[in-house]
Structure formats: C-alpha cells, structure tokens
C-alpha cells in the first residue's frame, strides 16, 4: 500500500494564467477505497479550479462528516480547509462567508451528511442563497459505517447487504428547487466531461450552487441491484444538454446553431454555453426543471446536467447587505465602533 504519491509529475503539464500546474492544486494521496467515485470528483474539482486560474489561497473547502467529507484532504492542498461537525457544514460556511466574502466557498458533503443528519441545514442554506458551491458526493449508502442504506437510496435498490431498500428516496435537487435554490445540477463521478464544466459554472454563479454527483461506493453499493452503481448510472444517465464553460478572458470562437444553444453571461463576465438536447426543457424555468426531474424519476432515469439556473440570482450578501470588506481587514475601531453607535442602533429600533 502506498501512503505517498511520487513527487514526479508530467514535465510538460500545462500552466494556467497564474503559472500553476494542476499539481499545485492536488492534495494528499486518497485513503478512500480503491475505485471510490469521490476520488474522481476530487479530480474534477482540481481540474476545474486549475483551469479557472483561481489562486489556491482564495478558496475555502468545508465539509461535514463521512467518506465524502474526508475528501477535501485529497484536493486543493494549499487552500483553506475546515472539517466541521456532522451535517453542520452549511452553518460553518455561513459564518465564514459573513466574515469574509472574498473567498470561494467550496462545501463538500455526502448523502448522509446532507440528506439525513444535515437535511435541516441543507434546506436553509439553499433557501438563503448563500454564495457557495455545494457538492454532494452521493453514493446512496453510509460507506463509513459499512454501507447501510442512506436517505438518498432509491426505493428497491439493493446494496451489498442484499435487501431491497423499503423507503422512498430524498431527491436533493428536487428539494433545492422547491426551496428556492438558484443553481441546481446533477452529474456522475464517472463523467468528467460533464462534471468539470458544471463545477466551473457553479463557481461562477453568484449564490447557492448545488451539484448532486452520483458517486458509486465500490465497496458497499456497486452491486447489480443498486441504482447508484457504475453500471446503473452509465446505463440510466440522461443529460438535459451539454454545458460549455468559457472563462471571461477567452474569446468565444466556435459557432453554434443559435436555435440549439444559449449563452449565459455570468456576473464575472464568463459565459456558460448550453447545448440543448430536448426542446421542451428550459433550464431557466424552475417549473420545467421540477417537471423534468419528476418525469425522469418515474421512468427510472437519472437526469443529469444543468437542471436550473436563476440568471438574476441575488445572494445572501446582497440580501443582508453584508460588509464588502472582510472582517480581518478592519481595524478595532471599525469592528467595535463603541457605545455611541450601539446607542444609535438601539434608538433606531425603538
């Protein structure tokens, strides 16, 4: 068993605008099971962040508890990290974001951490539209405690234990849509061509951006009867369309049939280009997204791709008019303006 990854990298690795190679965004060697989907998602995050030329120290990665929540150790080794309490990652991110809105907040969670113990926090952070990326590494089981069915396991799905799950599944994108999330996507760990642009788009989105990623548990839930196995996911994946992400600094050179593509300019100037597969689906219409999700669920398909995006998203900072300056850059006088100011505030509320 290797506990260290060799130091050597490809000598011709491409450098991003900051002069960094992909290797500069790696973390420690993974201790997850061999073949775990989470490692592929880590790889996709590394690729997306490298290609977006984000400075590592401008990112904070936060997680709760579980296999998924271990994974921030395995990517962005030079970024800030906070491995928080089970199911409570959203409140820690909220606190951090209130104190410093300059960082990119990358929340990583699992189906247990989000849909079971953390369901309450999940709902509220989505509802408040906190500016963060929320990636769920969704394997439908509690891998860290030997593979019990989780709340996202589909009814009838059979994991390694051999018994069909008797309960209906929580569909995280559906909840997010219902509750007012402004960016909702689903993907599959085994499809980086789809996942990487989605992560880039989620990073560019201002507001709460959910990506629910089906991420097979090779040890406990990659069985023939499971609906979250590699084979099942590949056979039942159905994409809403493809997403291309064009960063702000790059010129759009490729021409597309205008009837089939839509360009969305993000607040940072980058462009998301959507190529539709199905004319009846509109990713800017919440109702259309909810309908499409429900339809695919009925037909036993896994609907992936960008499901919904609110182009006019107003995030929590705008709603609360939080400080633009991070608290750690303010002096004592600004942070503690004194009893006179407090008196004024109290007076204004009387």
């Amino acid at each position: 068993m290797s506990y260290q990854i060799p130091k050597f990298r490809h000598p011709e690795l491409p450098k991003n605008q900051l002069g960094y190679t992909k290797a500069d965004y790696e973390g420690s060697i993974s201790t997850l099971c061999a073949g775990c989907g989470h490692d592929s998602i880590s790889g996709a995050i590394i690729k997306a962040v490298h290609e977006l030329s984000i400075e590592p120290h401008k990112i904070a990665k936060l997680s709760g508890i579980g296999c998924s929540s271990k994974s921030p150790t395995y990517f962005l080794g030079k970024s800030h990290g906070f491995n928080s309490v089970h199911g409570r990652m959203p409140s820690v991110v909220t606190g951090a974001a209130m104190a410093n809105r300059d960082l990119l907040y990358m929340g990583v969670s699992g189906d247990g951490d989000t849909a079971s113990i953390g369901l309450g926090q999940y709902g509220h952070v989505a509802r408040r539209n906190l500016n963060m990326v929320y990636i769920v590494m969704n394997n439908g089981c509690y891998g860290l405690t030997k593979g019990q069915d989780s709340a996202t396991a589909d009814e009838g799905s059979v994991s390694k234990k051999g018994e069909a799950n008797p309960f209906s599944a929580i569909d995280l994108p559906a909840i997010a849509l219902q509750i007012g999330a402004t960016f909702v996507a689903r993907s599959f760990s085994g499809d980086k061509e789809q996942l990487v642009p989605l992560i880039k788009a989620a990073i560019s989105h201002r507001g709460f951006a959910l990506i629910d990623v089906v991420s097979p548990c090779v040890t406990f839930n990659n069985t023939p009867g499971s609906t979250k196995s590699y084979e099942y996911a590949r056979e039942h994946m159905e994409a809403t369309g493809t997403v291309d992400f064009v960063p702000m600094h790059e010129e759009i050179t490729t021409k597309y049939d205008p009837g089939k593509t839509r360009d969305v300019t993000m607040h940072d100037g980058s462009v998301i280009r959507l190529k539709k597969v199905d004319d009846s689906f509109d990713p800017f219409d919440r109702l259309s997204a909810i309908t499409a999700l429900e339809k695919s669920r009925e037909s036993g398909q896994i609907l992936t791709g960008l499901l919904y995006m609110d182009k006019h998203s107003r995030d929590l900072h705008e709603a609360l008019q939080t400080s633009r300056t991070p608290l750690n850059q303010m002096n004592e006088h600004e942070l503690c303006p004194g009893s006179k100011v407090l008196e004024q505030i109290n007076q204004s509320l009387r």
Binding site: M1, S2, Q4, I5, P6, K7, F8, R9, H10, P11, E12, L13, P14, K22, I29, S30, C33, A34, G35, C36, G37, D39, S40, S42, G43, S189, G190, K192, P216, V218, N222, Y230, E231, R234
Partner: protein
Amino acid sequence: MNPTDVKNPEYFHKVVDCQYACPAHTPVPEYIRLIAQQRYTDAYMINWESNVFPGVLGRTCDRPCEPACRRGRIDEEPVAICRLKRVAADNKSDVADRMPKIPEQKNGKRIACIGGGPASLTVARDLMPLGYSIDIYDNQPMGGGMMRSQIPSFRLPDSVLNEEVNFILDMGVTTFFNTEVTSMREILDKNYDAIFVGTGAPKGKLLNLPGLEEASDSVYIGIQWLANVAFGHTEQVAQKVIVLGGGNTAMDCCRTAKRLGGQDVRVVVRSPYADMKASPWEKEDAQHEGIPIFDNHTPKEFVVENGKLKGMMFEKVEAVYDENGKRSLVPTGEDWVFMEADVVLMAIGQENAFPWVERDLGIAFDQWDMPKLDKVSFQSTRENVFFGGDAAFGPENVITAVAQGHQAAISIDLFCRGESLLDRPAPHTNLVSTKMGVHEWNYDNQVEIDDRYVVPLVDLDKALSDRKVEVELGFDREIAFKEAERCLNCDVQTVFDESRCIECDACVDICPTDCITFTANEEDESVLRAKLTGPSNNKTQELYVSAALPTTKVMVKDENICLHCGLCAERCPTTAWDMQKYFYSVTKAGQAA
C-alpha cells in the same frame, strides 16, 4: 487505433528503455534490483550472460542505456546504470562454479577467430560450451583487443580486463597471440568449419598537413600511441602536447599524456565544444584533470624549425548551420593562431583495413572496402566466413561488438549444424504478476526523489602521478543502494485487462504523471494523442491501447513517463491493472527451446 498486442515480445521490451537501447539488451532493471538486494554475484551473472564483460563495461561502456533511461525524462539525470554495473563486478564473490560447463567431448567443429577483442571473445564464450574447438589469433601479446590497447589503465585496470578475458580463455580456447594474420587464404587452408573476423577498426587516420614530413618524428597516431603506452613501449612524453580530435580517443590520449610527463597538454578540435563526439563525462574528466579544450580551431600546418617541431598553426572557425541543419565550419577571418607543441597526437578517427583478406576468395567488399555482410547473420558472401564488431560495419563500441558476437555465434552454430541462418531464435520472455497482497508488490514501488549520485574519484595528484592508478573509485555499497533505488523498475509492466475494468477512472485520477486516459478511440494516432490527459508529444514512445470497453471508450496509456509506481493497480478496485514483471533476454547460440 487497433488494440496493442502485448503478446508481441517487443512491445514490453520497448517499455524497458534502457534494455531496449542496449545493443546486447542486458536486463538492466533486473540486475539493478539485485544490487539493491546486495546480491552482487547474481547481478554480475545476469550481466555476464548478456554482455560478457561487466567489469570492463561498468567502467568504459558508451552507455546508450543512460540517455534512454526513463528517469532522464522526469528527473534531471538518468540512473547511473553503468556505474551500478561496476558495483556488481567489484562486489561479486567467486563465480567459477557459475561458469558454463565445457564438454570434454568436443563436437568436432573447429572455428577460427581472427582478432582477440570483445567480438571474437564473445563468439568463443557462446560456442565453447556447445563443444566447439576455437582458435583465436591476435597480433597482441594478450587477449582483449582494443579494450587492452586503447582504453588506458587509469580507466580500466589490467586486473579487471584480465579476469574477464580469462573467464573465456580458460574455457579451453587455443590462443595464437603475437601472431599477425597476413593472409586469409592461409587461414582458409587450415580447413576450419567457420571463420569469424573480429579485427576491429585498427587503422588510425593521419591528417596530411604542410610540414608533416619534417615533423613526423613528433607526430603520432592516437590509437597506435595508446597501444604503445599500454604495452609499455612508450613510457614518457615531452612537455608540450597537442591532441587533435574531439572523440573519446582524444580524451584518452590527452589524459594519458598528462600522466606521462606532459605539462602543457591541450585538446584542439575543429567543431564547437557541444558537437564534440566524445561522451560528455569523458570531456568533463579531461577538464577536471586540468586539460583545456580549444574548440573551433582547424589545424592548418606544422611549424618546424631546424628539423624540430615547434607547434601548429590553427585557423579559427565558427559553426554555421543551413536550413537543413547541416553544419559547415566557416573561417572567422581572424589571424591564424599559433600553439606551441613538442608532440602532436592525432585522434581524428579510425578506419577498417583488410589488406590481409585476398580479394579472390569469394569474400566480396563494397565501394568503401567494407565486407558485404548480411545485416542479421553477419555472414559474408563466402558462407563460412563471418564478421563482427568494428570489423563488420565500422567503428562502434565494445557493447555493440559483444551484441554482434552473440549473433555471429548463433549464425556459426546454425551454419555448422546445417540449418538456415534466417531461422533466428525468438527471445526468451517471461511475464509474471508481482502481486503479494491487496496493495502489495514484490518490487519496491516507492519512487525515490534522490538526485543522481556522483562517483567518487581518487585524489587528483595521485591520479596524475601514475597512469595505472584508477581514477574512479566506484560507488560503495551504501551509495550503490541509494542509486539503485532511483531505478523506476520499468520492467514491471502495467498490464491492463479490459474484461475487468468498470471504468471508474480511479487510475486516471491517481496517476502522478497523467499517463492514462479513457476516451473514444481514433483511427489516427496523432488525433488520439491530442486527446490524452497529459501532453503526449514523445512519439518515440508507444501508446498502449485497449480493446473497446462497455461504454465503447478505450483505455489509452502513454508509456512515455510512466513511473511504474503501481498506483494505478493499487487504486483499481477490480484488478484490471496488474503490475507484472517482464523478463526479456536475447537467446544465445544453443539456447533455443
């Protein structure tokens, strides 16, 4: 692209860059591992089987393996393969009982080897165990050929050479030393079953410049001068020495001159320093001994006063390259440069010479006066006469001579048994898993980050005081272990079984050097290369392409900079990847299954 045929023995052989580059295809990683395990004698014997002169080559080899070494593509310098070979030779125990048994009952076939150098000795080594009777003819007093006459003792001690030459001579070879063969006809008249010509490239070139005749007492041909030193005929040299030429012979000449009393020894070469033919390390060794190299100087004439050489005139030139990259040396127009010299040594190349082979014997020669040979069998146009070493296709090096000697021995054996010379034996190969446990391998898969270790040298004053003091001390066991650990074990192959793959991408994500990609296949290799995870620009390295997987994608692995760290196999949940040790050895005469 079509799926890669890993059953072809050459596919995985090519992945072992060092072994593939070696003319004799010595199993390098295998013996390096044995050195790391302190099994020096085993390491020595693997070498001896393949290259016959491990002690000699561990000091003097041209090392085609090292520029090929994969480590050089990911790290600053390749593994010090050559000097590790020396470690095996220096630390081996008695190998007498490991030498092949020579049958007392001979097979009745008599072979003559003309020349006692590495090629002839290799032929003898391969044929003696098969029962052949072998006569070696050489004009020198001892065996070894140019290894003895041209490689100075400070690079190759006599004791090392003698031991390895004697391993072969002691098999019962009949030697005719101090015997100049002046007529091929005479040899043919002795009714040998086959004759092997391994006479090297014995003729040094002489540059006929104005003043040569008057200066001739002070001008020597480098290889002849080195031979005279080696056999004790020349024991000193005058103070001011100019060595002309930029090859390894020039480096040996100047360093020898420095030890025989030369005070102002200098090398003068026409080409720019970087283009010199000498191996980089030999140039460094000469400079380390305080010998300056003057490049871009073309010799024009000898300056002789009162019948005595005073020096030489040189014209300064610069290298100009045309659009095809062809170099020409153009005079700069500056005044000629005068350099003082008491002696000039010419080391500007050497040639073959076959004045002793009569041209009416059915042995055809080409327009360059080289024998016409079959490139594979080394057979001449007279069916029982074979050539090998420098005598075959012009000056190369010891390891090439050995490789050709092995092939010539196969041909001679086939010929003597009346079989087709085209029926060459297939290489011996073996591919076996190194798996020991779930994530454990029986090779050390951890990649060490150490820089290449420098071979310690003897004190410079001591080295220059005696031409017989070996300059390099060689690695001690401790450093040898560390250097051996730098080897990437490229012979432990990444073998992919598509029927087991679930396309989880774990190998792609873990691979430190981005070798692996799962993608839709392409007809055209360059299109496929453009789609790979890591840049794939080294087209001399193969792509390992699998058959189509369930998603219709294929696995493509660029062999170029694979570290053979085994992480792909460790991260594979279904053992679709396995690390399998590949052993490849060239089959020698009489070994075919």
